[in-house]
Symmetry: C3
Subunit: 339 residues, 3 copies
């Protein structure tokens, strides 16, 4: 595996073998303890560029960089800094006073890594799918760029997700993994479920995507997942029956997301999803599984997405899963800055 000097925008940037090797490095690093990867970032600075809030990502990435010897430089776009334009040819007479074309090359003269979080606008599905802001950062950067959750992917989360499954079950391949839509009081981005599904397919899981019909993945996405799964000896199926999906599952991964059918129309989406308030993970659902674990990227709305019983019970691995963010990101950065 050589991640050296590479950007990481999606697990799709990695071959299945590279992904697997990275997960193993993360698990080894966790076992070996804090100093496992040495200090490959000594003397180096990393800009963490946040267009949106963050807790786990901010802290786990900062601590990862620090433990590897590096210096963290957080930037809050639109708060402590200027808002950024990424479109070409625009007459910039509005609220965005700086273009990525300048901001990123300038940053690259100061820092050795740019990690960026930029959520979707949830207005236009195809526009969000294009993931233009993060792509623009990568295009104009001369240092590696790491995606801390873009409009369409959250690959660092997916690394921790796969690591957690591998840690628990020894492997992802062949495991029955259910990505289940959940009720939530507002439409949410697709980045986490997209990244999870992609990584699970790359790792050869038997993946079931359970969601009401209005919340099913788009056909192109599904075709891409199936191509990955085929190559890795896994499978992908979809269903609108949460109960049947849960039967015999090793993993229930709950996450809410916006409907493509009503993308950009929150009112209609909210009206539609009222019929699906029962899409909440509770003990009954977990009892259908094969002694399965409950996963969630957090933050999780208690008693909305998942009950107190499940989240506080023995099947929940959400805290371990979040903890693995640190180890997965240390392994990633050690690869990028390693010898």
């Amino acid at each position: 595996m050589s991640l050296k000097g590479r950007s990481f925008l999606s697990t799709g940037d990695l071959t299945p073998a590279e992904l697997d090797e990275l997960l193993d490095a993360a698990l080894r690093g966790k076992a070996e303890g804090r100093g496992a990867f040495g200090t490959p970032m000594a003397g180096k600075s990393a800009a963490l560029v946040f267009f949106n809030p963050s807790l786990r990502t901010r802290v786990s990435m900062s601590v990862a960089i620090t433990q590897l010897g590096g210096h963290v430089m957080p930037l809050e776009i639109g708060a402590g800094t200027w808002d950024l334009e990424h479109r070409d040819g625009v007459v910039m007479d509005g609220t965005k006073v700086e273009h990525v074309k300048e901001a990123v090359p300038v940053l690259c003269q100061y820092v050795d890594l740019i990690a960026v979080r930029c959520f979707p606008k949830l207005a236009n599905y195809e526009e969000d799918k294009a993931d233009a802001m993060v792509a623009s950062f990568a295009k104009h950067a001369t240092v590696p760029v790491v995606n801390l959750e873009s409009a369409f992917y959250h690959p660092c989360q997916a690394l921790a997700d796969m690591m957690t499954i591998k840690e628990r079950f020894g492997a992802v391949k062949g495991k029955k993994v259910v990505l289940s839509w959940a009720y939530h009081p507002k439409p949410l981005p697709h980045a986490v479920p997209n990244a999870f599904a992609l990584a699970a397919a790359q790792c050869g899981a038997d993946l079931t995507i359970a969601a009401p019909s209005e919340y099913q993945p788009d056909d192109a996405m599904l075709a891409a997942l199936r191509a990955q799964a085929t190559a890795s000896g896994g499978s992908v199926r979809t269903t609108s029956d949460q109960q049947s999906a849960a039967e015999g599952a090793h993993v229930i991964y709950a996450k809410s997301w916006a409907s493509r059918a009503f993308y950009g129309d929150a009112t209609s989406d909210l009206a539609c999803r009222q019929a699906y308030r029962s899409w909440r993970v509770d003990d009954e659902l977990m009892q259908l599984t094969n002694d399965g674990v409950f996963m969630h990227c957090l933050p999780a709305r208690r008693n909305v997405v998942v009950t107190d019983g499940v989240l506080d019970g023995q099947h929940s691995v959400v805290v371990q899963q979040a903890g693995n963010r640190l180890h997965a990101q240390k392994a990633l950065l050690a690869g990028i800055f390693g010898s």
Copy 2:
């Protein structure tokens, strides 16, 4: 004294002997200079969780951690991160998207210390007195938690306060210390006066709490202070006469706070306090003292709480007092992370 691995939510967590030892360590550390305590936090990270603004606390804590070799990770709740729920059993369908039950155990996998600031809502006195957010952090944390000012206590401030009195007068015990309410254009939290009064009582001061009748401490609080004072050879009395309180005092500690009588009703409190606009510390009041010092936790509204004359004069120790935050916190952290 062994503070090793302990949380610090209030000076009440310490025995009087432990408190005194900690103050001596802080004074020794100040005298010995920047490297006094070595680097017991080398390789360690600390999350500083701010629900509210901070200047002195933010900087003094960050510099303390840095000088001890550690890495500081500031988090602004509700700004750069998600807002947090701390109540049990809630259906989280409102604005709070994450529960302390997840957030804190997750943080504890990344960092070695959590320091948290969370002001009161000033709506319900009993609720604020319960100090639930900080208590919830401590309950769910597996690393030490330090209170950077909660709804009801500000113990790091109280350490610096007692250290400053000891530095100036050689001891706190037997010193005539006046905690005086002051006029201020809005109702303020009780954390600083509570913490000061508690620590002064623990240290055996002869404490006078001077405040208009509507601003007197609650009976339970007063009983607790008197129990501490009795055990330490000090005393606690209350008065509504600021002048008589000041006579012969070693310390005038000015601070405004909300009335319990009108708690949650700012309009009535503001109406009530108009009669007490003269509760401002000026040179005339200071001349009643026994060559006493003027103390305030800062920020202080000039010519409202205290005159320019007092604040810029030779009796003011407010800058020294704030400077002692650094040394008191270094001693505290050296205890928590020490061998």
Copy 3:
């Protein structure tokens, strides 16, 4: 040159010889690479106090301090901290809860350097010209204060500007340097153009200030610039003809600023400047120059202040110019903390 222990509020604080020596140190440091200046800030902390947003300044200053071995402590005034009063004798019963008289001496007990950004209010020209907030910081500080852009000056930017000209042309002296006003959809501060013009005059450039009549510099400023230029063998002239100014120029430095005539009256300024929408730097203007470079402090509004063609073309040095902020500031700090 001895900058040791000195504040840096304007390049006017330096003699022309000191300024030139500093620019040479910056160029040497850039050539020698990251470790050029050693770690004169080891064990030291610096507060970066931001009243306003920042990208380049925040990152370049933070990385500069880090590379010199120091610890960075960012403070956002009015966001994560209290808002500050700087006027004397005020009754502080409004929104500002803390005075610089306390805040700065307190900070000086924690940190070894204060760097401060405070933009003008753009309400009263003489008030902004007095640069009272930064002056107040310097007055009350016992550690060096560095100006990260005040109401009237941006000297760190000016250092990088002069360094960039010297890097490109071998010298600033005798070079034909044009500071050109540009159209922008709102009135902007004078700090960058003031600092650039002053430093160019100190360095002996042949400086032309091109601006519509309503946007010309004030007479006192102009007299001061001419005094500096005379002493350094340079010259200063003004014109309202952008084309003639550009002829034969080595440098076109574009920047918009508010009209003194309408200072504090944005509506009138905006009405006035509509006649000057053609004051935008494009390829035609650049072709009038002597193979000149395009400079801008960034952020720059594309196709408003400058066209895509110029900014993306071979004459633009804006990214290099911003990159030089790091090296100029490292040289400055190495001087302040050096032996």
